[in-house]
Symmetry: C2
Subunit: 519 residues, 2 copies
């Protein structure tokens, strides 16, 4: 057995049986090892951003890590943006990066680079497998890092000579138990109870607080104490739609966020962080909570949030038998032949969303009303861009669909962001994934147009136009999807869109709708 | 004047008047500043790998740096692979990365990351502009780093608050003289002369030795002394075709390279490095020159190579009046209706190449015979993938076409590699660049198929097939190009290809030919 085979067996022994891959020459022994293991499902991305984004989507929905397979520092570099997002989503990923054989590094061959430096920026820990003897311990450490609750990106650097080197005859895979989430201490429960009793309190939910028992408990506590409930601005996964309590999000825009929080005296963090602005602006604060607001952490994201909320219910004497208000059903917009607009598009999707769908949302500005409309949609999971690095939407859909093959994935996708990892469409076609993509085609980086007015520019000149518009030429999304093997349609009216969306849901395999919006 | 405006003026004062850009919110003040400077040509890439690869192509052909504009660590990450290639090409680039306002960093907002760590892996130096006062000195240092002969990637990190901050009223741009290349010392000339007189010598050319007077001088020296001349395996820019002396390259494959060098007793490095294998293989050496071969450096890449070769001629008594053997014209292959094969494709391109073309070559395995066939092509510049990070071909074509708008760019592009930065086609269309792309479509990572046999795997199983084939679905390249605004044709016979190639040359603006090769 060589190192690559032992790595592969150790991954499988630890329940890691999906590998999103874009290999190169230095990983050929690992590819050969994977080839001998039909239990491992290998999924090719034609670009590494697809690989790492898919691993994130898989982790969010499967609740366990996939492995990646990347080629040296450059392949890792191509995957950096979505690893960044995965770190911010707290997704477990075992990120495997091949390296040159150790004796080859000193020769500074053309593809040699500082893998460790790049990986360190997007990993909780970077393990270089330094020897045959160190192989299994390094892998187990790497897996343990990935599994550290709620999840982390763990990078393993695999030198080619370790991969091809023969292991001793006693070498065998081992299993590492997933570490348990830490328990919240009694003092934190007591402080949170006191904050909630004091009034004008807000429970800010993040991570695991946004689904299942935890979400329900947070709302029960809020109902009983008169506190508000709010989710963080960007969330890895929210349980939404009918059957789930209605949970709004903290707005993205700084002024709106400040206004949303202005009456809060006690902010109780439940798997969330003290909220901060995405970006700094001259004269605006970075922290979003009022200066006078007391911040109290019930449970940090790595703790056992479910149990903390249960203990908080007990401390407050909140009963589990209350009803939570039902959300009302979303009406289907009229099938008119008017030009399609962003809000009608969002309402149409919210209305037609099938039961148990997974929504990946990278619709940025044009999809901004979808969240509000979809409180009453069919039950669904809702996955967002967590780290602000655009280009994760369609890869996220890939990973979610691989994790949940029985569920419909609906991928809400801004056109500008879609171009960053457009290669994901090919993987959707290759793997016949049930991904229905809606491209919100407005042919510009609308968020940046808005930011230009924020910096005082009213009329864009030639250079700004050339950097903030993505029209001229207009991207033909239906044709682009088709060229990559994905069936598609184009819709510029509500009637056409409703038809296309129903067609996409009925279609076996991926489908893309180019929704043409006004300039 | 704010910091962004001063940065922009300083770039212009130093002759940097092209900015390849993919900006984000934290760079809006810089975008506003660029908008006020019509002298700066801003070119949008819909993905950062396009931006950095284009900056490399521009530098190789313009002989001076462009600026880039990237958004935070994630945008930089997306550009890492082609910055790696640019470093290996020794291309001057002023790589500008926006960062959060300094006071915002402590809040660890979602897009915060360790920009310095990522940049350090692909930059000769990373300058963070730490204050308003430090702005101009930092920019000048950054430009000086980029201009350090023969050229380097120099990263400037621009915090948003420095960009929006008002400069003092005395603030003004300054100019930094480009550092001169170091002169070779007399001892190096004498050693090289001695090596060449000793016999069985080989002049290994790299960098600036591959064009103009330097290339001619190297060949005159070789003719006079009986030495061989060879180029490195991967070169940023070679002068080739009729009018240039015929210069072969050291083969990529380790065994072929070892064989090519086995009779060499004296290796004279002229702007090149002691050759090493791209990758390590069990039982094969990393260094490619024979153990017994003496290696002598005439001039390292950063030195004045032209003048070193002139002094070497004088030392050896070589006259400048000799003739260099002319290369013979390439015949056009027959316009048959047989299935197209890779070699016929290469011969056709070599035969039809127009005078003064720029060839960017990322054709990998399927284009391997082009180099041999094109010694006798019309005069052209030949640009290769230098750092092994695939996905530079089409961006390189963008940059070359921007630098040389009067010349035809012919982009030889493997299908697998093309997918990494396929967004470059859109920029070609937007900027109406004279780029004729030939996609060598064989629907697999052929180089990795070959490497699998190298590691002893004869028959690929399901997992290896899924990772090394890129068919199923087959990418429809003509349709893909058209969806991004690039006119296109599909050719599966020599007759169709010859027609399409002539059509592409006659076309005003970019054109893409999907050349369908056998599986």
């Amino acid at each position: 057995m060589n190192g690559a085979q032992l790595l592969c067996e150790t991954l499988l022994a630890n329940g890691i049986d999906v590998c999103f891959a874009n290999p190169g020459t230095s990983e050929m022994h690992f590819v050969a090892a994977l080839d001998q293991q039909p239990r491992m499902r290998c999924i090719l991305g034609l670009y590494e951003g697809v690989v790492t984004g898919a691993a994130d989507g898989y982790a969010r929905m499967a609740g366990k890590p996939a492995a990646t397979l990347l080629h040296l520092g450059s392949g890792l570099g191509n995957g950096v943006a979505n690893l960044h997002n995965a770190q911010r989503a707290r997704s477990p990923i075992v990120n495997i990066v091949g390296d040159h054989a150790r004796h080859h590094l000193a020769f500074d061959a053309p593809l040699t680079s500082d893998i460790h430096a790049i990986a360190s920026a997007v990993s909780a820990q970077v393990h270089t497998i330094a020897s045959a003897e160190g192989l299994v311990p390094s892998i187990l450490d790497g897996i343990a890092t990935a599994l550290q609750p709620p999840g982390q990106v763990s990078t393993l650097i695999l030198p080619a000579d370790v991969a091809w080197g023969e292991m001793g005859k006693d070498a065998q895979p081992a299993v590492r138990q997933a570490p348990a989430a830490a328990q919240v201490d009694d003092a934190a429960i007591a402080r949170a109870a006191q904050a909630l009793r004091a009034g004008h309190a807000l429970l800010l939910l993040g991570g695991a607080a946004l689904r299942g028992d935890a979400l329900r408990r947070a709302h029960l506590i809020a109902q009983a104490t008169g506190a508000q409930v709010l989710a963080e601005t960007s969330n890895a996964r929210m349980q939404r739609g009918r059957g789930a309590p209605r949970t709004d999000k903290l707005p993205y825009a700084v002024d709106a966020a400040l206004q949303r929080l202005e009456d809060v005296d006690h902010l109780v963090l439940v798997g969330s962080r003290d909220p901060v602005a995405f970006f700094a602006y001259p004269g605006k604060p970075s922290r979003l909570a009022p200066e006078a607001c007391a911040v109290c952490e019930l449970a940090s994201p790595h703790m056992d949030i479910d149990s903390a909320l249960l203990r908080l219910m007990v401390a407050l004497g909140v009963s589990d038998v209350q009803e939570i208000a039902a959300t009302s059903k979303v009406p289907v917009p009229a099938a008119t032949s008017q030009p399609l607009d962003a809000d009608t598009l969002c309402r149409a999707i919210a209305a037609l969303l099938p039961e148990d769908a997974i929504v990946t949302d990278e619709s940025v500005t044009q999809g901004r009303t979808f969240f509000g409309h979809s409180h009453g949609s069919a039950a669904h999971d809702y996955l967002q861009l967590t780290g602000g690095a655009i280009g994760i939407g369609m890869p996220l859909a890939v990973g979610a669909a691989v994790a949940c093959p029985q569920r419909q994935v609906v991928s809400l996708q801004a056109d500008g962001s879609a171009m960053y990892t457009v290669q994901a469409l090919w993987t959707q076609a290759r793997e016949k994934l049930q991904c229905l993509t809606v491209i919100f085609s407005n042919r510009r980086y609308a968020i940046l147009h808005h930011e230009m007015t924020n910096v005082g520019v009213e009329r864009l000149g030639r250079n700004a136009q050339s950097m903030l518009s993505i029209g001229s030429p207009d991207i033909q999304w239906a044709e682009l999807a088709s060229s990559l093997g994905v069936a598609s349609a184009r819709a510029s009216t509500p009637a056409a869109f409703l038809d296309a969306f129903r067609q996409g849901l009925a279609h076996d395999g991926p489908f893309l709708i180019e929704a043409v919006l006004p300039d």
